[in-house]
């Protein structure tokens, strides 16, 4: 086990800059999840840690040692690829023992290591098969097994579950969490999946366009997104965002389109007249009968998810999404009143995108 320190790491392919200075410290035994839109450089960063990609500038340390110029084999990390990358001409057992055989580990030790890993991942009956004769989920487990047979300094995962169906993904997510609790290994995990990120991470690193946007605990990112990007990226259905202007009078309000005024909990630390964006998560939007205090809205669309209901309403020329655990709150064509509880409101500076307050 080891900590990983990433200092001002940059990556460029020729003149195309991919990463613009990433700083990140991952503590020993921590499970860090990298999230971000496609093409933002998550895999590139992971591959640089693994040693598969050159570091254009900056420094990566694993367990305190600078690894910039070390070959992958000398970094003592394990990686699970999205494609699994199983050796097709080797049996499951040979796939799993390959790294140990390369290290000239004693035969008995290899045998006990792979049977231990196989038991953990319920692969024992499949040990003599070739990858060709395995299902997608089984291949995924072999790929995990190959990583855990030795005790590397860190585990790297590049979207390891994205080729599985939803049910299996949910199951493997639990398995990975359990494995991490067992082994306590430093792990970096790349995913597109919100739920995976929220459930697995000790800390989430949200990236966009080659820059780290926010680092924090899952609930931190969810409850206090640092900027518009993180606010929009985390959560599904996505946060409502309305552009408006800050008014310092009356204890602080935001004036939205069509003269709609939303009161705030208190004065915001910004100047009167600042253009800002008001964000509120759909599950925090209150939907009630008309006549109550609130903003008049017309229900356009009702999406029952089974778990709850997503309502799309139009008000002050914008689309307002609301999520309710109750069924039958409204039907299409209803006029309702929506309101935004002051303690649930997020404010962002429209010009810079950063959080206010």
């Amino acid at each position: 086990m080891a900590s990983i320190d990433i200092t001002d790491v940059r990556k460029a392919y020729g003149s195309t800059k991919i990463l613009h200075g990433v700083d990140l410290t991952i503590k020993d035994g921590e499970f860090v999840v990298l999230v971000g839109p496609s093409g933002c450089g998550k895999s590139t960063l992971l591959r640089m840690i693994a040693g598969l990609e050159d570091i254009s500038s900056g420094e990566i340390r694993i367990g305190g040692r600078i690894v910039n110029d070390l070959d992958p084999k000398d970094r003592d990390i394990a990686m699970v690829f999205q494609s699994y990358a199983l050796y097709p001409h080797m049996t499951v057992a040979d796939n799993m023992s390959y790294s140990l055989r390369l290290r000239k580990t004693a035969k008995e030790k290899i045998a006990s290591a792979i049977s231990g890993a196989a038991a953990k991942l319920s692969l024992t009956p499949l040990m003599e098969r070739r990858p060709k004769a395995l299902s997608g989920g089984q291949r995924q487990r072999v790929a995990m097994g190959r990583a855990i047979v030795r005790s590397p300094k860190a585990f790297l995962f590049d979207e390891p579950l994205s080729n599985l169906d939803a049910r299996l993904r949910e199951h493997m997510r639990g398995e990975i969490k359990k494995l991490h609790q067992d082994l306590g290994a430093t792990s970096i995990y790349v995913t597109h999946d919100q739920i995976e990120a929220m459930t697995l991470a000790d800390r989430i690193v949200a990236m966009n366009a080659g820059l780290v946007q926010q680092v924090g605990s899952p609930l931190d990112l969810y409850d206090r997104p640092a900027n518009l990007f993180v606010a929009g990226f985390m959560g599904s259905p996505a946060m409502n965002m309305f552009e408006g202007t800050y008014r310092a009078a009356n204890g602080g309000t935001v004036e939205l389109a069509q003269g709609v005024v939303v009161p705030l909990a208190g004065p915001a630390p910004t100047a009167d007249g600042t253009k800002l964006t008001l964000g509120i998560r759909p599950e925090h939007v209150l939907v009630g009968k008309t006549g109550l205090e609130g903003i008049q809205a017309l229900i356009d669309l009702v999406e029952p998810t089974g778990f709850g209901t997503i309502l799309h309403a139009s008000a002050f020329g914008a689309d307002v999404k609301a999520f309710s655990l109750e069924r039958g709150v409204a039907v299409r064509g209803d006029t309702v009143s929506v309101s935004f509880p002051v303690e649930r409101i997020h404010l962002f500076d429209t010009a810079t995108g950063s959080r206010i307050g």
Partner: protein
């Protein structure tokens, strides 16, 4: 229930394949037929599918009274050496072209393509001029050298396409598992490229086995003649001994057939299935 239209299509399809196969194999059949036809029947019987009397005399003569065993041995040495040298060189080169970007890659690939553009006849005189002061004319080594040079570019492109078909993830996984790049190449990538290497080996072997032009121009003595050159010795000023020539031809087919039998199990593709997601 097979619909009549489908059935008709299937029959037409099979028939077309059959016609093509017959067309392709007929010369071989004729080769065998002539090789067992006694000389006195060759011209007297007219065109018949099988002579009224078959004989192995031609084979016996070729093996016992001609230089054919020698030509045969020479051809074997030249073809097998060429095939192995080319396969090794083109595997290494093809891997580099497939996996690395390096300075001058564009020009190297361009030059390799350029060598494929000229008719060989154009190059015979300069090559002769180069080899003769080196004492490499009239020698099997010289012939091997020339064959290797001419086969490497194409074989390299062929091998490159096989390496391109093997996911990069595999050797990256091996390197993370603790292998050097060379170990990953030898232990992971090479076993998966065996079908490609077998194809290259077979391709180069047959090319060298049947090459006539350079063999004819660079070799003048019987000692270093290969079998295609030797075949010409059945053509004399006044006649062609077809029976013996065809018998020699049939014998020459045998090594090529054995060679392909040996490598055919590697030619069966599909070894990489299951490497990546499925």
């Amino acid at each position: 229930m097979i619909r009549p239209k489908r059935l008709g299509m299937t029959i037409a399809h099979r028939a077309a394949i059959l016609v093509y196969v017959a067309f392709a194999l007929f010369p071989l059949y004729w080769l065998v037929k002539v090789s067992v036809t006694p000389n006195d029947l060759l011209y007297s019987e007219g065109v018949k599918m099988w002579p009224s009397r078959a004989t192995l005399d031609h084979f016996a003569f070729v093996l016992e009274h001609s230089d054919f065993p020698l030509f045969f041995r020479n051809s074997m040495i030249v073809s097998v050496s060429t095939a192995f040298i080319v396969t090794i060189l083109s595997s290494i080169g093809g891997y580099a072209l497939s996996r690395f970007t390096f300075r001058g890659k564009f020009w190297i690939v361009g030059l390799m393509l350029l060598t494929q553009m000229f008719p060989l006849v154009m190059l015979i005189a300069p090559i002769f001029k180069m080899l003769s002061p080196l004492g490499l004319t009239n020698s099997l080594s010289g012939l091997i050298l020339v064959y290797v040079a001419f086969n490497v570019p194409f074989a390299t492109f062929l091998m490159q396409s096989f390496f391109d078909g093997i996911p990069k993830d595999l050797e990256e996984a091996a390197m993370i598992d603790g292998a050097t790049r060379f170990m990953a190449f030898r232990q992971i990538i090479l076993p998966l490229t065996l079908p490609g290497m077998a194809a290259t080996l077979g391709f180069v072997f047959t090319a060298a086995w049947s090459e006539l032009l350079f063999a004819l121009m660079l070799i003048s003595g019987v000692d270093a003649s290969t079998f295609p050159v030797g075949l010409l010795s059945f053509v004399s000023k006044f006649s062609v001994d077809f029976g013996q020539m065809m018998a020699a031809g049939v014998l020459a087919l045998i090594p090529a057939c054995i060679f392909f039998l040996l490598i055919q199990r590697y030619l069966v593709q599909g070894l990489t299935a299951g490497a990546v997601k499925g």
